[in-house]
């Protein structure tokens, strides 16, 4: 027993030494204890700040086959005052940690080591800014006081097939922020940075057994990013970097890392079970499509419409990705519907390929970094048109996030980049039509007709379809409430008596919504006169953009759109209108269009509003014009007139 024990101990010591020596240690965490008094003063409103942070990813090649990443994170947080007590917490990813160390140092210099098991797990704050990991556990640090320093670090290992983006984001000021990426030198690789990240410092290490290349970024005084209304999604402006392996020397390694786009085929499952680009067993289905259309031939559009109409999207279907199964049970996951459309197109003699699409909101496509993180959608494509059979979009139409973006055409043997189509404002139109009489107003019943076309319609239809099909009963109720809130937000102070939707199911027709509403604001009885505020029926739009504050981010309107609002009031016989015309300065530049008029003719008083955004995004420098645009709407909403007998 004694001998065994000694041998085991020796073995344990040996392996642990070997384990540590195997790792390259590049971490350059700044060990200083505080920032300058000046810096502390400048951030004291936050109540706390990070003296130093380090996030480090080190790629390791194990047994020539698998790639793993060792992630080390280290934070030194200083609590300045009571406002910062809420930050006395440890935020740790919800995975198995290899190492963990936490100490607190009080103002008097006394230190204490913290163990996770002794700490209280608390609810994660909603404001957690980190976007590098999905799930976190949050622990509260006991005994917080002013000038306490909380220092904690942890390490974990992840199996890697791809290289993830590392985002430079924070919820508190960081005095010394460091990010490191360690690549295996003998992999031909490169490291790319995005969204104005400073150029990396690159250090090459010598000829030791595990040659590695270190990339590091160092930021002084990193501050939280400010959000603004109509600003792009944070991923479009948060700086990030990514390491890419272009070539791997050993043939085995190719199995586990993607170094060219072709390698992705095994992940996107573009091949069927027989490893060929599909066989001839889908003829029956094509015959069905022909029969449905009473034709001998079949077009791509007919196949698309058939799949979209007859196969239900259900991401919970077991094996919903398998075309055989999808055709059999008439439903499938989105990947299954895509594959089914693909094989049917192929079977019908078209030459489909796959399009890899990356949402505009997650940043631009980067072809030099073949990675599964470089795209969000894989869809079939014919004649340069990506097809989304699982969506509520007609053939050829794309959701706003996939319009006018660079995408990848993934063909059987090669791939090429292309730009997806875009729409202009005239395709995405919101129309509001209201015709009023004095009796309508006295009865407190107003009929509003809204017509949505293009993206305006898809935006309204898609969530409805999504929520109704794929969430729990309580989520559906929540959705209905959200929709009601949306209406209430848009038309302030209105009571909705009835809501009628037309063409929700038909993807080709505009969505028409008819509401019967009550609005106390439109009509006020002033003794022998009536005060009428027609503009109060104009939806409350762009209100947040009246702000005089300096704009930081560009504007992001999702897609170009046009709002067309016509509200008329029939002047009753024997009544006279008391109104002096109001001038609205028209706006027409590269980005915005707006024309507003109030007319009185043919016994009617009419508001015409035509306005919208001509492009998806607009530079921050246009904020002054935008303010004018928003003020015009506010002015229109408050314009009144009187009628008297």
């Amino acid at each position: 027993l004694k001998q065994t024990f000694l041998i085991l101990t020796a073995l344990l010591l040996f392996t642990s030494c070997a384990y540590t020596s195997k790792r390259a240690r590049f971490h350059t965490f700044n060990t200083q204890n505080e920032a300058s008094a000046e810096f502390e003063k400048s951030v004291s409103d936050f109540g706390a700040y990070y003296i130093a942070t380090l996030q480090s990813i080190e790629y390791n090649q194990i047994a020539n086959v698998n790639l793993t990443a060792t992630v080390v994170e280290h934070q030194r947080l200083k609590i300045l005052n009571k406002a910062g007590y809420q930050y006395a917490r440890l935020i740790i990813p919800d995975i198995e940690l290899k190492k963990f160390k936490a100490t607190i140092t009080k103002a008097d210099g006394s230190t204490k080591t913290l163990q996770l098991k002794d700490l209280t797990k608390v609810t994660a704050p909603a404001s957690l800014p980190v976007i590098n990991h999905d799930h976190y556990l949050v622990y509260s640090v006991p005994g917080v006081e002013e000038n306490m320093i909380i220092d904690y670090s942890f390490e974990f290992t992840e199996k890697m097939s791809f290289f993830e983006r590392m985002y430079i984001s924070t919820d508190l000021p960081i005095h010394d922020a460091r990010y490191e990426l360690t690549m295996i030198t003998h992999f031909k690789h490169k490291v790319k940075t995005y969204n104005d990240l400073k150029r990396p410092t690159i250090t090459h290490f010598g000829e030791d057994k595990e040659r590695k290349t270190l990339y590091s970024w160092h930021f002084d005084n990193l501050l939280p990013l400010k959000k603004e209304s109509f600003s792009p999604s944070p991923k479009r402006y948060t700086p990030y970097f990514i390491g890419v392996v272009n070539k791997v020397k050993t043939s085995e390694v190719e199995v586990s890392i993607v170094n060219k786009w072709r390698d992705l085929s095994r992940f996107i499952s573009v091949k069927d079970k027989n490893d060929s680009w599909f066989s001839n067993k889908y003829k029956d289905e094509l015959e069905r499509i022909k029969k449905a259309n009473n034709k001998n031939t079949v077009s791509a559009l007919e196949i698309y419409n058939f799949v979209q109409k007859n196969y239900k999207l259900d991401n919970t279907v077991d094996q919903g990705w398998d075309p055989d199964k999808v055709i059999k049970i008439r439903k499938g996951a989105w990947t299954g519907l895509n594959r089914t459309l693909f094989i049917l197109l192929k079977e019908a003699g078209f030459a489909p390929s796959y399009a890899l699409l990356k949402s505009y909101n997650t940043g631009d496509f980067d072809y030099s970094s073949p990675s599964i993180f470089e795209f969000d959608l894989v869809v079939p494509m014919v004649e340069n048109t990506p097809l989304l059979p699982f969506s509520h979009y007609p053939m050829g139409e794309l959701p706003a996030a996939y319009q006018d973006i660079l995408a990848l055409d993934f063909q059987e043997k090669s791939e090429r980049s292309f730009r997806t189509a875009k729409t202009d404002l005239e395709k995405n139109v919101y129309k509001l039509q209201v015709d009023l009489t004095l009796n309508d107003l006295l009865d407190e019943k107003i009929n509003l007709i809204e017509t949505h076309t293009g993206q305006e319609a898809y935006r309204q239809k898609s969530p409805e379809r999504y929520y109704l099909e794929h969430t729990t009963e309580s989520d559906k109720k929540k959705y209905k409430e959200v929709h009601q809130n949306y209406l209430n937000g848009r038309f302030a102070d209105m009571a909705f008596f009835s809501v009628k939707n037309e063409h929700v199911e038909d993807v080709h027709l505009p969505l028409i919504q008819t509401y019967s509403v009550g609005n106390k604001k439109v009509l006020t009885n002033l003794g022998d006169e009536y005060l009428i505020q027609l503009g109060s029926l104009v939806p409350k739009m762009y209100t947040d953009l009246i702000s005089k504050e300096e704009r930081i981010h560009d504007f992001d309107f999702n897609y170009p759109n046009l709002d067309q609002i016509d509200i008329s009031f029939k002047i009753p016989e024997g009544y006279k209108v008391n109104f002096e015309s109001v001038h609205f300065e028209p706006i027409d530049n590269h980005y915005l269009y707006q024309k507003i008029s109030i007319d009185q003719k043919d016994g009617k008083l009419t508001i015409h509003y035509l306005g919208g955004t001509k492009v998806r995004s607009m530079p921050a420098g246009e904020a002054i014009t935008m303010r004018q645009f928003a003020e015009n709407i506010a002015k229109l909403r408050t314009t009144k007139f009187l009628i008297a007998k």
Binding site: P142, F497, K640
Partner: protein
Amino acid sequence: LALIYKALLGDFLRNISLIIITIFLAGCGTGTTLQQNKTANFKLPESLKNENSVITDYKEVFDFGLTKSGKPIIQSQISYTVFVRKASEVNRYQQIYYNSAFESLANVKASAWQQGKKRQSKTTSFQERNVETSSFLSNMMAKVFYLPELHDNSFYSISYTVHYKDINNIDKALLNKDQHILEYNLTIKNRLNSVIELKATGTFLHTEDEVRIPEVAPNSVAKIKYTNLKPLQTLYSNFQFPRKEFYSIHMFPKSDEFIRSYTELGNYFYTLNKENYTIEDSLYTMINKGAEKLSDKEFVNHVFSYVQKEIRYEALLTGIKAYKADAPRTVIENKYGECKSVSFLIVSLLKKRGITAAPVIVNLGHDGYNMQHPKLYMANHLIAYAKVEDEEFWLDATGTYLPTGFVSKEVAENRALIVFDKDNTVERIIKKDKEKEQSIWTLAGDLNEKGSFIGKGTLELTNESAVNFRELYYNSSTMDRLGEIKDGLESYFEASHILNLQISNVGDLNKPLIISFDFEILNVVTTLSDRLLVSLNPVKKLKSIRYSTKKLEGSLWLDGPENFQTKIILNKSKQFSLFKPVQNEKRSSSAYELERVFNETKTSYELSLSEFIKQRKLQGTEVQSKFFDIQRDRRLVFDVIIQLKKRG
């Protein structure tokens, strides 16, 4: 069988065999073939033909038993079958919720089959996860899984067993299903030596064939059957209370082992927390330092402020100690705690000083619950109570920005139990001093050529009215704290710019928060041929009540009690004179009072507008019928128009 086995085999073998037999019998009990036969000829009733799915059969068996040593042991077995008319509209993702502090879930099974066909029992694996709910229901867990694949005109069934770890927290069969239930069978097996009293909650009155069984005798079985239970609807989940009415049957065993009264509930809680009523001398001395000469009333304020400032509230995700607070010492060391722990710290400090003080069990927002038979799970919040001479203090230290003695609207008007001591629990309704909540806006200025109202304003907010702005200030996510308040103020108007904002008394909770600013409220003027219409007071407070054609049940909670005043001073100008004075008016209802007073002085036109929301709660029917009246009445003080005449 047990007897035969006992005779034939030893204890060990006997137990093993019994388990096997039990499992075998349990398997038979779920009655695969029986159910399938039953469902083979199932047809949806005509009235429900458009429902996507309907629960055909819901069974719940509550078993109140005794262990060998005579302690109560309880479990319930739930199984139900659902008919799926339209598979595409039914979600396969299922969650079974349970309170991990008191319950454990076992034998979760799910299966599906097409009408007349064989049962298919494949489910995607069961997983357990924490359910993040609001801070006071922090022990909820869910077992989540996917049902086997569903088809049109098919069935699925789910069954599981709930074991109650703490007998005092079992008390009801709860039927909060989203689907229509055709038949509901509750079996109560009473193997106790005492009577189990039954009570169905109000919603059962909606059903026509309610079976009233007042109690289940010892060592007997009771069966209750309901048919055609409709799913219950909520209208406004945010401010309608009770949030959702449940079909539920409460069970109250009249045994010493179970809580039977407020006093017993108090005692149970008292026993759990007995030590937390006291605090060590050294800690008391530390906190009392410098406060020795304070009067008792001042000391209450001192302690409350100390806890408010030094102990931060942390909502706990897990916490088996749902009803047992941390010791005051731990709270002081940690500098954080949840509601129970911070409240006990206050109580222990006050008691040490000799002040009457006690923890208060609060049932937040569930005033629909039956309180005649109190149960511990109803306690979802804890505050502290103190009494000095004749003055009572309700102390909720989780309200970080509330002055001493002011409870939030969520806490006010709720039922509460003050647990003074063993056998000394008092039931109360927490009252809030309605006169003391005030928001006073003053806007004074001129009209400019663009038609804006431009000038200087102040906003004075007392007590809870100031909480939102104090929160905006202290919890600002950017360094621009005043900027957040500015944005907050701007949102009150249709369109405005707020500039040069200043704030005072932000840290002194006992003083009103005062915000002063320069303003430009855009587009207030409409020009007519003979006059100008100046539309003022776009500031609005009374919660707008959404209209719905659905019947509103329960009550609707407003933002009251609160006194909301706006004073608008429009300076006289050479450019215009008064065309027509604004009429003075007053309206009142049981819920609110509204008043408008117009005054012309030498230098200005003044409008004094006030909204006094008298209460927190409005009864549903009252709100429903008066919806438009409320909106009409509000126009007295909202969007008031001054008519001016242009000179020259």
